[in-house]
Structure formats: C-alpha cells, structure tokens
Chain length 118, copies 2
Amino acid sequence: MGCKIAEFQQEQKKRIRSVQDSMDVLNGKWKIAIISSICCFGTRRFSDILNDVEGISNRMLSKELKELEVNQLITRTVLATQPITVQYELTEHGDTLQTIISNLTDWGQVHRQKITGK
Amino acid sequence: MGCKIAEFQQEQKKRIRSVQDSMDVLNGKWKIAIISSICCFGTRRFSDILNDVEGISNRMLSKELKELEVNQLITRTVLATQPITVQYELTEHGDTLQTIISNLTDWGQVHRQKITGK
DNA sequence: CTGAATCCAGATGGATACTG
DNA sequence: CAGTATCCATCTGGATTCAG
C-alpha cells in the first residue's frame, strides 16, 4: 500500500485489457465496416451491406454478422417478402459505437493523406 | 446529377473505406494494446511493453512495433546503455489516436459488463 | 535487453457451387 | 435473396532457440 507506481501500473494494465476487449469484438477484417454500413442507414439488408462493403464475400459477411449478433451489437430480422429479405439493425448497445466509428472514419481519412497523399 | 440517393451512397462508401483504412493500421491482435501502453507512459521500453501487454510474445511485439513504425505512429530510439535498451514513443500522428484509444477503453469496460457481468 | 530465425498448428478468408 | 458447404492457399501467432 502506498506504492503509487505499482498502483498506476495496475490501473494501466486494466485499461489495456479493456482496449483488448473492445478489439476482440471489433476484430475481423470487415466488422467495423459492416457496423458502419448498418449504422449510417439505420437499417440495412444483407445484399445492401454486401454492396456497401467493397470486396467482402457473402461467406464472410454471413459469418461476421453472426458474430456481431452474438455480441449483441446488431439484431437480425427476417422479413416475409418474396423472396425473403433479412434486415440488420444496431442494438442500443451497438449504437454506442457511433462515436468510435465516427472517430475512426475521420482518422482514417487523415491517415491516408499522411501516408500516401504526402 | 441530382440523384441524391446515389450521391449519399457514394459518400457512405467513402466513409466505409476510411474506416477500413484505420482498421488496416490498427489490425493485428496487439496493436492497439501496444499503442495504449506507449501512449499512457509517454515513452516505453521493449521489455516494459512486453510486461504491460499480457500474453504477447517478443516475436509478436517486435513485429507489431515494426509495423507501427512503418505507419509512422511510433518512433524507435536505441539507447546506448549496457545492455542496449530501446525506447518507443508516439509520433505526433500517433498521438492523434488518443481519443480513439480512450473511447475504446471506456467502451470495452461497458461491453464486458454487458456481456459477462449481466 | 532486444530482437531475428525457425518450426509448425490452427485460424482466416477467397472462390465456387449449392439450397430453400 | 440470404445464406451454407466445401476446398484450399495464405496468414497468424505461439514456442523455442539463437545472436549482437
């Protein structure tokens, strides 16, 4: 007790673990892009996202969506249209990612210029 | 021209690409944790980070640090101590990730409670 | 101490074809 | 349309050993 430095380091380790927790959820080549797509349109269908996120395959989209659903970031709703369509939506919890997404968008733009644009 | 919907969708695709750009840089199991470690201490040595980021191997740390350096997020300084030590520091550009790191830390904490804590 | 080198299992992800 | 199934190459990352 009283060892401020050790305390600080413990605090820091906790923080790092928290960041890791976030990244575990948002990991995978496409997850953030998918959330970003759904987020901006409010509600989005499978084929729409497939089109929004350039380069993703339906196999990957399906897999990533499932993981996001398990982590309670999005909800899946089957619509009784012909043929069937499926809607994805952010949960309240998923919605809390908005700030991060927005920041990442801005940062990505600046970074691209920094690296390539010179 | 005048097709507002198509315009909006193009804008959206750009945004998604920007998020992808960010994630490309921050990808890898440990990158954010490493940045987080350096960020909080201002300057950090190899062995310190190795200790901060639980579970990482020196092989991975070395690799991820190199990538971060290439992307100009950190700088590497060799100190002429005996034995040699190496210091890592955020660049000005890397520093701009602070907000994102901070948000991810907070979000990760909330998320963990949401999922496990229940 | 700070890596680089090697070995290797398992995860990731693309292409393609198929189903309800 | 919204997936699932299969095949397969590549990537990831851990363990361990070695080097300056």
